[in-house]
Amino acid sequence: MPNAPVPLSWYLILSAILFALGVAGFIFRRNIITVFMSIELMLNAVNLSFVTFSYEFKQVDGHIYSFFVMVVAAAEAAVGLAIILTVFKNRATLMIDEVNSMKY
């Protein structure tokens, strides 16, 4: 089998797995940065399914959507990391459980 086609659903399921792992990271980890990275992972998973569908429909729209997702992720990273820096400056911690003054 030099060139056996791969079922489309594999890509989608892969993206689902990655997304689920991202969610897991988001739920289980305590380090803000790791949580943040889990979000990025989820975004990537979504991108993968975008590109897959774009292959399915033989149109580049999916690529463009994932491109937008990247742009938004970049903006998000810039602001989010700035926020993390500020939080660390004020709280000297990165554990989200300890940043909970909004609760009270």
Binding site: N3, A4, P5, V6, P7, L8, S9, W10, Y11, L12, I13, L14, I17, L18, F19, A20, L21, G22, V23, A24, G25, F28, R29, R30, N31, I33, T34, F36, M37, E40, L41, N44, N47, V51, T52, S54, Y55, V60, D61, H63, I64, F67, F68, M70, V71, V72, A73, A74, A75, E76, A78, V79, L81, A82, I83, I84, L85, T86, F88, L94
Partner: protein
């Protein structure tokens, strides 16, 4: 060939993702995330998204993750004290929920996906030309709006990160 490449890199991606979740040290997580992105880029290439693959590497791996690594180094963030210390609710339900989630999604995908022919490398090429043309005709407005968004993000980041004077 296609299948082989897919299996290899999908495996790498999943492994790295798991690594991201289980590693206690942020740097390790960051590097494994980069691994995920790299392998995803390969998969994009396979799906004919050459431009998006390059963008993936340049923007994500090359810029965003560098930023992450930079911040991690800057804060010299150490490993988490206790790794899987989750809140009460989460400890019991989280894993279960995720399993259900994953199962459902794959179920729906399997059921709902039209049974078309699979992916073969080279049957579809979303060249940079096509992407650019679409981006500047159909999606012009969103494109411009994202530029504004980025501007806002820059300003916000500067305001947040500048030292109080």
């Amino acid at each position: 060939m296609t299948a082989l490449i897919f299996i290899v890199f999908a495996g790498i991606a999943v492994f790295c993702a798991i690594n991201l979740v289980v590693q206690t040290h942020p740097i390790a997580s960051a590097l494994s995330l980069i691994g995920v992105m790299g392998s995803l880029a390969i998969l994009y290439l396979q799906l004919g998204g050459e431009f998006i693959a390059a963008a993936q590497v340049i923007v994500y791996a090359g810029a965003i993750m560098v930023l992450f690594v930079f911040v991690i180094m800057l804060l010299n963030a150490g490993a988490e004290a206790v790794s899987f210390q989750a809140s009460r609710f989460v400890r019991y339900l989280g894993a279960l929920l995720l399993a259900a989630f994953l199962g459902l999604i794959s179920l729906i995908i399997q059921a709902a996906l039209p049974k078309t022919e699979g992916v073969l490398f080279g049957t579809f090429q979303g060249t940079a030309l096509d992407v650019g043309r679409k981006l500047f005709t159909t999606y012009l407005l969103p494109f411009e709006v994202t530029s504004v968004l980025i501007l806002i993000a820059i300003v916000g980041a500067i305001v947040l990160a500048r030292k109080e004077v």
